[in-house]
Structures are given as structure tokens and as C-alpha cells.
């Protein structure tokens, strides 16, 4: 088996058994990145020298017996995480050039755990998108292909580069961020597992903000266990993020083997939407059958405000984004286009620096917060957001977790769904409610579409109950035994 094909858990065991060295593992990945990235465009910035230095330090740590499960594990870091001394772009030209003099808390914790950073993964500009086509650094190609077709597919977004890198085996795992589905949807499109933990589980310090009340960091990996290992290191209270939770971080990895016997799994009627494809519905039924077989109790539930999730999300997220992105004004960092006066400089800088989707969301966000519209849009959206949370709270009185499809479709082609932004926004229909409620949700690969593309199921849990989410996802993982690999993969000819 090639080194790049190992899971994190496997590689970690081999490293500690001294069967392989961190330098070997990293070198294999650096070479795979060099070979595949020009095609996939999964990384905006690669850092092979830094990775090698970290690998050497990892080998020393393993030799000294101070290794963690992540020591020497090569990762891709979504380029929304500020990394000290390494260019950070948010996939936007407006931050060109920007080299942060500080490190995000999540990446600092991963570094402290001994992880190796291969580079900064591509994404939708400022994490705004579901296809990675809004990146100012070019789209990412999904390593998966439809049966008998060489058409380029999108990897999903916004953590598209992270997903493509891990699927193509040019990273063992990756960090992502999820504001409305940006971890789970690309994970589903590329046959990976990805979890958006509870809002507040991971610090947002040093992560470039899209929508502050929704953004959460989380991992993408090839197994639920690998996700658990990564999330373990990424989680924890941070006094520098007032919204991070001062709570004990449980042993996520232990939850993987817990099983679902006696657990109550909710099936929300409202997720059976018009236009849901037969194969997505069939996959969902398959998931229900698997969980029932594994000893879970299946309970029909209602989340009546589900249909308002998308409209609420597309008010709240742009509103916060319009404010969060005001700082990109050309005054202190990043790109500047000089102008006649201050206002002219702002206009030229922001016109040149932001892409179309970012501009669209800034416009929407500015509009919904404007005097005279605030009550009708933003305030109403906040009220419905509270109702969506209440739906979940009531449901979790009856069930321990909720099972839904992760996405309404499999990965689509580059250039498809581009005509109308709303069509693109519909990608997030199953994922946004858990962001609005702040609850953990995970995507796990469960099967293939008729065209041979991966499809995912989503498990949603209670606040701070990622353990149950992991245990249910792992049960599906075991039952689905998803072993198909993408067409474009490191080491393949």
C-alpha cells in the first residue's frame, strides 16, 4: 500500500512503530502534491520545505516518545486559517499580498500536536460558495469522474481544495470551515467524512471571518476515526474567542466504536423535499435500514421550519459578511488601488479585489441591514432562526441524533448551475439548518450515484454531543463499507 493511501490512524501507528518515518511520509506527500496539484489546483500555496522541517521535528518527537496521534501527519490547511509567516489569501485577490504575523488557534493546536502542513488549500473566495468556482485563484477539480466521462466536476465548497486534496491522497486530512455546509457538502462530493462541530467547539481566532455567528472549523478526512483524531486536536476553549465554549472536550475517537444500539434516530419529514432525487432518497432509506440493523430505533420527527433555513441563512450570513468584509479597504494590509480620494480608493480597491459572488453577498447583506429593511429581513430572519433552533431542541427531546441526506445531488460539472445564484444556493438546503442552530453535523460517504459519484448522509446531533454524531456516522461507515477511490489519485498512473 502506498504511503499516501494510509489513513491517519494507520499512518500514526506505523510512525510510532517506527515502520515508517515522518520524513518519508511527508516526502511522499510532497511529491504527490507536486505531481497532482498543477491539475487539481487543490492548494493555493504549497509549503514543502516547511512540511519537511515539521516532519523532521516529528521524527524527533516520536523518537523522544512525546508523539501524539497527529505527530508527523501531513495535512492541508484551508487557506482561511491564518498561518504565521505563510501567505494567507482566503482565495481573494484583495488579500494579495498578506502574510499573517500570527497563527490561528486551531492551526496552532494542530502544530503543537505535531502535524505537518503541506500547504494552504483552495476554497471559494472568503468561503462564499458551494463549488469552489468563486476562488480568486482558479477553480479546484474534483478528483472523482462520472462513469465513462472525463468532464471536470466541482469538489463542492467552500472547503473544495481541502476535500480534493484529501480525496486525491495529496493530504491525509484537512481543516475546513463550515458556515452553511462548507465542510459537509464537499466531503459528500468527494467521498470523505467531514464534521462541523458545535458552534463554539473550536476557536475562530485567526480564521478569516465570513459570517461570525455561523462559522465553525472542522476536519475533513477519509474515515470517521481520522476526523475524530483531527477534531480532538482542533477543539477547546480559547480565551481569545469570546464565543468559544469553556467546556470539556470528550474523547471523540472512543465514540467511534460505541455503536448505536438503543439510540433513537430521528428522520425529519421536512427533509423529504420536492425535487429530491430518487437515488438520494434511496440512499437515505438505505441509511435508515443500516442503523435499524445496528440496533437503533428509528423515529419520525418534524422540523417544521426547515423550509425557511435557506432564506434565513441567505439573510444572516450576507449581513454579517457585509460587515466582516468592510475591513478590506486597502488602508492597512492587502491590495490597494489608489484613487482620487479616500472613497475613490475604497471603491477601486474593493471593485478590483473582490470577486462577483463576494460583491453579491456584500450587496445583499448591506441591503438587509439598511434602515427601513432591517425589520423585514434581518430581524425577521433572526426570529425564524430562533424557531429553527427550537425545532431541533424539541426534536432532541425525542431522539439522540437525526439522519438526513448531506446534499440534494452528487457533484456537478464545472460550469453547471452557474447561471442562477439561487440554484447554487440550493446545494446547502440540508446543511444550513445545523449552522443556524449551532449544532454538530457530519457527512459520511454512504454510496455511489448511478454515475459512480460519491453520495453522503448527514448525522445531526445535540449541542456539544459530537460523540453521538461520531458513533452514528461510524455505524453507517461500517455498514456502507465505502472503499471506492476517485479517478485521480496519488500514485495512480
Amino acid at each position: 500500500m502506498s504511503l499516501t493511501d494510509l489513513t491517519i490512524a494507520e499512518a500514526s501507528a506505523k510512525l510510532r512503530a517506527r515502520e515508517i518515518s515522518a520524513v518519508e511520509l511527508t516526502t511522499a506527500h510532497n511529491e504527490a502534491v507536486a505531481a497532482l496539484n498543477p491539475r487539481l489546483n487543490a492548494y493555493i500555496t504549497t509549503t514543502p520545505e516547511q512540511a519537511l522541517e515539521q516532519a523532521k521535528a516529528a521524527d524527533a518527537s516520536i523518537a523522544a516518545g512525546t508523539a501524539t496521534p497527529l505527530t508527523g501527519i501531513p495535512l492541508a490547511i484551508k487557506d482561511l486559517f491564518c498561518t504565521e509567516g505563510v501567505r494567507t489569501t482566503a482565495a481573494s485577490k484583495i488579500l494579495d499580498p498578506f502574510i499573517p504575523p500570527y497563527e490561528s488557534t486551531v492551526t496552532a493546536q494542530l502544530k503543537a500536536a505535531g502535524a505537518v502542513f503541506l500547504g494552504k488549500a483552495n476554497l471559494d473566495e472568503f468561503a462564499m460558495g458551494s463549488s469552489n468556482i468563486t476562488s480568486g485563484y482558479g477553480p479546484v477539480e474534483n478528483p472523482w469522474k462520472r462513469n465513462g466521462s472525463d468532464a471536470k466536476l466541482v469538489p463542492g465548497g467552500s472547503s473544495g481544495g481541502s476535500a480534493a486534496a484529501v480525496a486525491a491522497r495529496i493530504a491525509m486530512g484537512a481543516t475546513g470551515t463550515d458556515t452553511g455546509g462548507s465542510i459537509r457538502q464537499p466531503a459528500a462530493f468527494t467521498g470523505l467524512t467531514g464534521i462541523k462541530p458545535t458552534y463554539g467547539r473550536c476557536s475562530r481566532y485567526g480564521i478569516i471571518a465570513f459570517a461570525s455567528s455561523l462559522d465553525q472549523a472542522g476536519p475533513l478526512a477519509r474515515t470517521t476515526e481520522d476526523c475524530a483524531i483531527l477534531l480532538q486536536a482542533m477543539s477547546g476553549f480559547d480565551p481569545r474567542d469570546s464565543t468559544s465554549a469553556e467546556r470539556h472536550v470528550p474523547d471523540f475517537r472512543a465514540a467511534i466504536s460505541r455503536g448505536v444500539k438503543g439510540r433513537r434516530i430521528g428522520i425529519p419529514a421536512e427533509y423529504r423535499m420536492d425535487g429530491i432525487s430518487a437515488e438520494i432518497d434511496a440512499l437515505w432509506q438505505q441509511g435508515i435500514t443500516w442503523l435499524r440493523k445496528a440496533g437503533a430505533e428509528i423515529i419520525d420527527i418534524s422540523l417544521p421550519h426547515t423550509k425557511y433555513g435557506l432564506p434565513v441563512y441567505y439573510i444572516v450570513a450576507p449581513a454579517e459578511a457585509s460587515s466582516n468584509l468592510a475591513r478590506y479597504d486597502g488602508v492597512r494590509f492587502g491590495a490597494r488601488v489608489d484613487g482620487e480620494d479616500l472613497i475613490d480608493m475604497y471603491e477601486r480597491t474593493r471593485a478590483a479585489g473582490f470577486g462577483a459572488e463576494v460583491k453579491r453577498r456584500i450587496m445583499i447583506g448591506t441591503y438587509v441591514l439598511s434602515a427601513g429593511y432591517y425589520d423585514a429581513y434581518y430581524l425577521k430572519a433572526q426570529k425564524i432562526r430562533a424557531l429553527i433552533l427550537r425545532d431541533f431542541t424539541e426534536a432532541f427531546g425525542k431522539v439522540d441524533a437525526i439522519l438526513t441526506p448531506a446534499t440534494p445531488s452528487a457533484a456537478f460539472g464545472l460550469g453547471e448551475k452557474m447561471d442562477d445564484p439561487v440554484t447554487m444556493y440550493l446545494n446547502d438546503v440540508f446543511t444550513v439548518p445545523s449552522n443556524l442552530a449551532g449544532i454538530p453535523a457530519m457527512s459520511v460517504p454512504a454510496g455511489l450515484s448511478s454515475e459512480g459519484l460519491p453520495l453522503g448522509l448527514q448525522i445531526i446531533g445535540r449541542h456539544f454531543d459530537e460523540e453521538t454524531v461520531f458513533s452514528v456516522a461510524a455505524a453507517i461507515e461500517r455498514a456502507a463499507n465505502f472503499t471506492t477511490k476517485p479517478a485521480i489519485i496519488a500514485g495512480a498512473k
Binding site: 491564518c82 481566532y205 485567526g206 478569516i208 469570546s242 464565543t243 468592510a326 475591513r327 479616500l342
Partner: protein, 483 residues
């Protein structure tokens, strides 16, 4: 009738409300660990949070919250145990995030009231609408470079308390008295240094005029007035302008204006149409601010004595007039100085000395209590020397002047210069006898009924004794020898 401005159509009443921005005294800024100290090299006190760098997040400074609560308590105001921060969005080069974190919908302090005293001794209550916490912006300078503006972010992110009054103020004098009162309270509390020259306290002044008995008319807001005197002038100038507008058949339009102290007038800054739409919304990077009731109670218990309370206590405890008590409690240092001097001494005599010779000397020397050449201990010692009759009141004034010039202690001066009061009746008898003997004609005139000459003899005797004679004894002996 209160204060009125006379126009061509009759009397006009002024209606004023003030928004006072008071910089919070704290080690670090409202949402970052950077120093909140005034001054320093440009951009020396700036964290990545203050500069609005990507991924940076605000964290509320507990001490700033405590300072706001203390101020609220000092304003006799409601402390809101639940409050919240909002973003006020607008673009400007010295506002790094493109928004100011403020409290719009749910301020930390609600309604309160302060007492002001006018020249004629009238006491008036001015309502406080609210106090909220917000961050200051940086400073833009447009005169440092021929083609560029430069930005100093040292002030960006420093905590500000915005104290909003009800439109209860009816004259320039009341506006001045209110602002001085707010300054006095925050200084007593140590929550703001009240230094208007350095900009750590500034006021936005809302002015309108109306005919007596009318509803409020349209108001204009005069931004960033930075002294008590300018606030008073601005109120008057703006009221006069509005009266002229109304009386010439025009309409006052709501707008933001600036006061130009050089010209003594206000001028338009931006009209309502150009006003920003601040797009306030709840700050998602911060949790709602929830205060523990016990914590607030503890702050309240540890609050220093406030000026109004202190003034009342001074009257009761020291038997001084309400007016004098007002002078002595104008600021905490003066009050402490007085209490040190008056402790176990004649409280009224202490008051007279401080409000008289002592203040006059400070004034003359352009000194403050802190830089005074005469300490409270020294002044107390001087009063002791008077009380125990070591020196008389006239000599005491000379000794005091010596203390001001040399900084020496009074007892030392008295010893050094031999100013000890003469109470030895033998010496006084001799001095009186010598003067009477030297002025037989005056003695004769006195005895023939020219009573006024008594003062002449006293003066001559005191002069002969270099002022050291005990005045009562001198009088007594002269009377005896002349009879």
C-alpha cells in the same frame, strides 16, 4: 421664567441635550490587550485586533465594564444586568474594522439623574437617558504630508462611555453646569480623567429652540465640542442662529454641525440626507454582556463618596456653609486636602484659610493641589500655631507667604524669624507706656473725646512690637493705661 433669548417675535426658550463621550480609565483597551495610555509614538499602542486584521476577535475588558458600572452608579442610574454590543457600520480610514463596536439597542446603564447647581444657588435635576460602552476610533491627520493623510491608531479601540442626557437643559449656564458635574462625578469615581484638552472627554450638543409652552422643534447636533466654555458658547450661538432662521420665515433642518470657536459660530457638517445609515446589528463576535448582581453590589459598596454626598456631609460635620462645602468638594483632591487640614482643628478656620489665602496663592503661582508648595500638614501646623496663640492672625499671613515662597514648615519660620506672639503683659505694658509717652498730644486729644485715636495707639504698639503683640492683650493694656 427661566433663561430666554429675545428675538424679534418675542422670547425663545432653549432646549439642550448633551451626549458626553468619556474615555474610560483602564490599563488596556475595551476589546484588546493594547495599552490604553494617552500619548506614545504614533501607532505604538496598537494590537492586531485594534488594526482590524483578518481573523482577529474582540474580547471584552472586564475593568472597562466595571468602570461603566461605577459611572452608572455615580449617575444614580439603573444598571442593566443584561446588555449587548452592536456593530455600527461605516467606512473611514481611522476605523479599521469598518465598524465601531457600540451598544445601540441594549446599553449597560439605563436612566438616571444628576443634580446641578446654578450661580444663584438653584438646584436642578437633569435626567440621564443612558450610558453605553463603545470603542473609540483612531486619529486621522491631514496636515502631516502634502498629498497623504496619516493615521494614528493609538486611540482606536480605547473604551468610551457615551453618557446621554435628557433634553432637560434650558440655558448655556445649565449646559456648562451639567458638563462640569459629569466631569466631577467621573473624576471622583476615577472612571475618566475628564481632560477635555486631550480629548478624553468631549460632548455632542443637541440644540433646539421653541416658544414657551410649545412642543420641541427640530434640533441640530453640534459635534465634538471640547471645553465647557465652548459648549456654553456653542449653545448660545446655535440657539441665536436657529431663532434667526425661524424668525426670517425659514425652517431649521435636522443636521450635524460643527462649532468654530474662532468665529464663535456653528456651521453645517452634513445634512440628514447625507447622514450615514449605520446598519446596526448585534455584534456576533461577542456574547451578550451579563453582569452578576453580587458583582455590581460589590462595586457599589466600594464606590467612593460622591460629590453631592460629600458636600452635604461637610456642611453637617464641619459646620461650614453649603457654598464653601461646594468649593471644597469641587474635586476629590481639594476635599481630601481640606479634611486633612481640618482634622482635630477648627474646621471653619481651616475652611477660611483654604478658600482664602491658600487658593489665592495657588492661583498666583499657577499651581494645583498636587503641585502646591504648601502641604496639608504645613497648613495644619500653621492653624495650630494660630489656635494655640503662638502667632497672631496677622503674623500668620506673613508666615504663610513665607511658606509659599520657601516651602518651609511654619513652626520653623516662626522660630527662625522670632515671630512668636508676645503674650507677656510686662513687655506689652512697657511697649504701650513708651508709645503713650512719645505721643502726649495724641493722648490728650484722646482723653478729650477723640475715640478714633485708639486705633492709632494699637497700630503704633504693634509696629513697635514688630506685629508680634497679642492683639487682645495689646487692646486691653492700652485701654487700662489710657483710663
Amino acid at each position: 421664567m427661566g433663561y430666554m433669548l429675545e428675538g424679534s417675535t418675542g422670547a425663545w426658550e432653549i432646549v439642550v441635550g448633551l451626549e458626553v463621550h468619556a474615555q474610560v480609565i483602564s490599563e488596556s483597551k475595551l476589546f484588546s490587550g493594547a495599552s490604553a495610555t494617552y500619548g506614545g509614538a504614533p501607532n505604538a499602542h496598537v494590537s492586531f485586533i485594534d488594526a482590524g486584521f483578518p481573523g482577529m476577535l474582540p474580547v471584552i475588558n472586564r475593568e472597562c465594564v466595571a468602570q461603566a458600572v461605577r459611572t452608572g452608579l455615580g449617575l444614580n442610574a439603573q444598571i442593566n444586568l443584561h446588555s449587548r454590543f452592536d456593530r455600527k457600520n461605516y467606512f473611514y480610514a481611522d476605523l479599521p474594522n469598518g465598524y465601531q463596536i457600540s451598544q445601540f439597542a441594549h446599553p449597560i446603564v439605563g436612566t438616571g439623574t444628576v443634580e446641578i447647581e446654578l450661580q444663584d444657588g438653584t438646584i436642578k435635576h437633569i435626567g440621564i437617558t443612558r450610558l453605553h460602552l463603545e470603542q473609540d476610533a483612531g486619529k486621522s491627520m491631514h496636515d502631516q504630508h502634502p498629498a497623504k493623510s496619516v493615521i494614528d491608531l493609538n486611540r482606536a479601540g480605547v473604551g468610551l462611555m457615551e453618557i446621554v442626557s435628557e433634553p432637560d437643559i434650558r440655558s448655556p449656564e445649565e449646559a456648562g453646569a451639567y458638563l462640569r458635574k459629569i466631569r466631577q462625578i467621573v473624576r471622583y469615581l476615577g472612571t475618566c480623567d475628564g481632560n477635555m484638552e486631550e480629548g478624553s472627554m468631549r460632548a455632542d450638543v443637541n440644540v433646539s429652540v421653541r416658544k414657551p409652552g410649545e412642543e420641541f422643534r427640530t434640533r441640530c447636533e453640534i459635534k465634538n465640542v471640547n471645553s465647557v466654555r465652548f459648549v456654553m458658547h456653542a449653545v448660545e450661538a446655535e440657539a441665536q442662529r436657529q431663532i434667526e432662521v425661524w424668525e426670517s420665515g425659514g425652517t431649521v433642518t435636522q443636521e450635524t454641525r460643527l462649532y468654530d470657536p474662532a468665529r464663535g459660530e456653528t456651521r453645517s457638517m452634513r445634512s440628514k440626507e447625507d447622514a450615514h445609515d449605520y446598519r446596526y446589528f448585534p455584534e456576533p463576535d461577542l456574547l451578550p454582556l451579563v453582569l452578576d448582581e453580587n458583582w455590581v453590589a460589590d462595586l457599589k459598596a466600594k464606590l467612593p463618596e460622591l460629590p453631592d454626598d460629600k458636600r452635604k456631609r461637610f456642611c453637617a460635620q464641619y459646620g461650614i456653609t453649603f457654598y464653601d462645602a461646594g468649593v471644597l468638594t469641587a474635586d476629590q483632591l481639594t476635599a481630601d486636602f481640606y479634611e486633612t487640614v481640618a482634622k482635630n482643628r477648627d474646621a471653619r478656620l481651616s475652611c477660611n484659610w483654604i478658600t482664602g489665602d491658600f487658593f489665592a496663592a495657588l492661583n498666583r503661582k499657577s499651581a494645583t493641589i498636587e503641585t502646591s508648595p504648601v502641604s496639608a500638614a504645613a497648613l495644619g501646623e500653621l492653624i495650630d500655631l494660630i489656635t494655640d496663640q503662638t502667632i497672631n492672625g496677622r503674623i500668620a499671613k506673613d508666615v504663610f507667604e513665607d511658606m509659599v515662597e520657601t516651602g518651609k514648615m511654619p513652626a520653623a519660620i516662626v522660630e527662625e524669624k522670632g515671630l512668636r506672639q508676645v503674650t507677656d503683659t510686662g513687655a506689652i505694658d512697657a511697649a504701650v507706656a513708651a508709645i503713650l509717652a512719645a505721643n502726649p498730644d495724641k493722648v490728650a486729644e484722646y482723653k478729650s473725646g477723640k475715640d478714633k485715636l485708639f486705633g492709632f495707639f494699637v497700630g503704633q504698639v504693634m509696629k513697635a512690637m514688630q506685629g508680634k503683640g497679642n492683639p487682645a492683650l495689646v487692646n486691653e493694656v492700652i485701654k487700662k493705661q489710657l483710663s
